[in-house]
Amino acid sequence: MRQNVLRPGLLVDINDLPLNRVEDLPEGGLRIGALARMSDVAQAAGVVQRFPVISQALLLGASAQLRNMASMGGNLCQRVRCSYFRDATSPCNKRDPGSGCAALDGFNRGHAILGTSDKCIATHPSDVAVALVAMDAVVHTRGPADDRAIPIEEFFLLPGDTPEREHPLEHGELIVAIEVPATPTARLSIYLKFRDRESYEFALVSVAAAVRIQDGAIADVRLALGGVGTKPWRARRAEASLVGKLAGEASFAEAAGQELAAAKPRPLNAFKVELAQRAIIRALMTLTNGDTR
């Protein structure tokens, strides 16, 4: 808004709504209010103990000051960091549908390589959304007509031909909570974020990962990527490749390769194809070896 990218006619302050609780659900899940602050969620005991990946993703996002102010609902709905979107001048299909995409042939080092279209290649910026996507969270909304429960993967839309539409929210519909189902696998989970600067920067690549190993083989695995997708990217191909395999660098590399085979890089972000694969391997190695960075 301050940059003249968005010019809403009316602003409604929702901060007083009673939506800031973080509850442990009886079966081991979580219900996170849409207005819960990022820092509160990151510190909640149930999150730290049962969903370390969510806590870590939150703590690696933004800065302490921002996390103290920013809400979970706001984080999911934050707008892309594409500098052409934000300069309020360049052609941008997301800001000004039909005007073109300046990033396609522009400075797109930070842009997405997965889920792109020829209309938009902006990366989804959120960290915690990546962890939530890995955990099959559900976004609960309330609209003028009814309440909805939207599986989080459906909550983020691919740009396709309509990059201006990022969420299935209808006019007047609010996120009220995010539910995370009980996920025993999440106890062994991790969020790794790789970036140029040590802190206070969006990811070049990030990985949310959780695994459960049984008899040396992978019984359950959750894998999602940040920094590379036009939406928080659930790495389903990699997951499918991993289940039942022996945990080890070879199977991790193969899975990573399968996930990134669909990548559509541009010249300046082509390195992310390789970086993402190595990041996946690193995350899985770290989880299965106790390997530390």
Binding site: Q3, N4, R81, S83, Y84, R86, D87, T89, S90, A102, D105, G106, F107, R109, G110, F194, R195, D196, R197, E198, S199, Y200, E201, L204, A253, E254, A256, G257, Q258, L260, A261, A263, K264, P265, R266, P267, A270, F271, V273, E274, L275, Q277, R278, A279, I281, R282, D291, T292, R293
Partner: protein
Amino acid sequence: MSGVIGQAVSRIDGPAKVTGSAHYSGEIALPGLAYAEIVGARVASGRITSIDTAQAEDAEGVAGILTHLNMPKVNNVPLLPSLIGGPAPGETFFPMQDDVVHYAGQPVAIVVADGLEQAQHAATLVQISYAETPSITTIDQGRADAYEPEKIFGGLMPAQTRRGNVEDGFAAADLLIDAPFRFAANHHNPIEALTTTAVWDGDQLTLYDSCQGIKAVQLTVAALLGLSPSKIRVLTRYVGGAFGAKAMVWPHVTLTALAAQYVRRPVRLALPRGQMFTSCGHREEQEQHIELGATSDGKLTAIRHHKISITSPFDDWAEPAFGVASQLYACPGFEGVHRLVRGNTMTPTFTRGPGEAVGVFTLECAMDELASELGIDPIELRLRNITDVDPNTGHPWSSYGLRECFERGARRFGWAGRNPQPRSERHGNWLIGTGMATAGYPIAFFMHTQRARAHLYADGTAIVQTATQEFGTGTSTVMTQVAADGLGIGLRDVRFEFGDTDLPNAGSPVGSNGAMMVSAAVHNAATAVRDQLITLAVSDSQSPLHGADPAGVVVAGGRMTLAGDANTGETYSSLMQRHIMSDAEAIGSWDPPPLDTPHGLLTFGAQFARVAVDADLGIIRVRHMVGAFAPGRVLNPKTARSQLMGGMLWGMSQALLEGTHMDTRHGRWANASLGDYLVPVNADAPDVDVELIEVEDHVTGPLGVKGVGEIGQVGAAAAIANAVYHATGYRVRELPIAVEHLLAHLPSGPASAAAGAQPDLT
């Protein structure tokens, strides 16, 4: 000397800054203040075909709008660095004099309104149409038309230098190093944006300006507007960082004055962050190509150092690639050439170690390659080439200390016993490497006479004044120390006043010269008052000091005593009261030595870095930096260390983070925000150790100060780049060094090899 000089005194402006009572140029409360917002050109080249301000003028709160259609004409003023002490516009071009657009972001309208948000909003309502013409905004686009200018750097330096015969030198060499480097443009990005508040009172103009030189602001605005400098007063109390962005006087200052004249109200302009990328210069995009010739025992025989860079349509600006880089080593053959491409950018400017930061990077990376090739320790290689005289003139250094910098720095760092083999150290996923580089920074005597006034009251307290200003470096603290020392009174008894052009003249404290030149004038003023009173005492029959040799009188704590006999003496107060003097005053002045002074003039240092590179992902983190510097006399080790540490971190930033990228399609910077233009955060900062080596200097003013402003950055990036090579075995010849440069050169093979992912680059 009272011993106040050299003490680690904490900043006297610290409490005001921490508590928020320090008022910056954008925080001066004024009745009737209006706010200005600049509209920058959307295109990089062309003409304005129409400009419609009707809608903006109708917007709420708008007080007036200036465009090229109603902007008064200003005078042409040549570009000369502010250090020289005259008018110092950042570029010879002044906006809104006609309809031509030379660069994106060039001011094409200035909107003034009652409130800041109203001005911002109205600025978006100004409708402008352009007839766009093709632009050149990168070296690649203009390479074919590159030219050799006569002079660069605001006319300060020749574009070419030669020493001896390089061809002979290369012929005599056993080994050649040939290394081309590329450097992204850099923007200074001080946290306090450039801000001007302009107030007219009749024909008198007062400017509150966030700048590095109040005198330069006064003289530049006077020259542009054709006003007498006596009509203009510039007040600048606090400045929140500058880094060269505020060394020259950019058009927005005068535009604000003109806007205030137009709306007949005080007007404030604070550049929004995005406009900080198109309003106050930058370090230009550049390429440097260095060739070294050396004998097999590591003696340099020839250096060829060429640079090509992009400048504005109006000025031949390049930061010098080889000022210091031509002086560090005794190499008989040297050839340096600058070439320029004219492009649609504003005129580049001084940026943190202008010239040295990049030129010494190039030289010192090439020296590291040479050391590797020859199998000689990098410090040893440098020791074989350093020189006690300036190789360009043959004059001895005014003071040196480089050997001690190598020794003490290496010891502090733990350099001895280093395994020169690249990739020889690994901890977990991290490849560890170490590197070093020489640092140097020039001392330039371009400034005019520096003056200060010392005013001592009969109660033994003093006000010492000069028209310098504090931009966060510690000047006001250090000058308080120098004044207290010169007067022989306590630190708390001195108030140092600055930041007002009505005070005695001081030049712009740029080029790391502030401490040297201002301290000289302050010292001379303070000691002049002291000497007046000593003279009075020894000639006063009622004084215990009567008849003493003035040279044998010392002053401490406001009391004059015989040297070696603390019991014989009296205080300033008792002397002055007896003589019914309410105060004593003197102007002190200092003239720099002539430009052809027979001395080599550099400050020296040595930089060391330890880096960790993620063996699979190529992420680089700096773990430890050590810098050893010989800045002459150290006035305050605390503020000196802070400056040097800050400089070293800027060097890290230069090596790994900072780069502004041009989108050539629109001729606009593609990452003009602090979210996209990365500078280090605290989490990036490694342990930084600073060693101070005091060397005596009798050329650089009465106190022998050389300066610590920028040398901290020089060589730091090279030490890091050399350490990255040592960690990985791969030399990246581009700044900033990033993950994508290293990914293909790390121990782990490509992960994609197995899966066969083929980038689709269509």
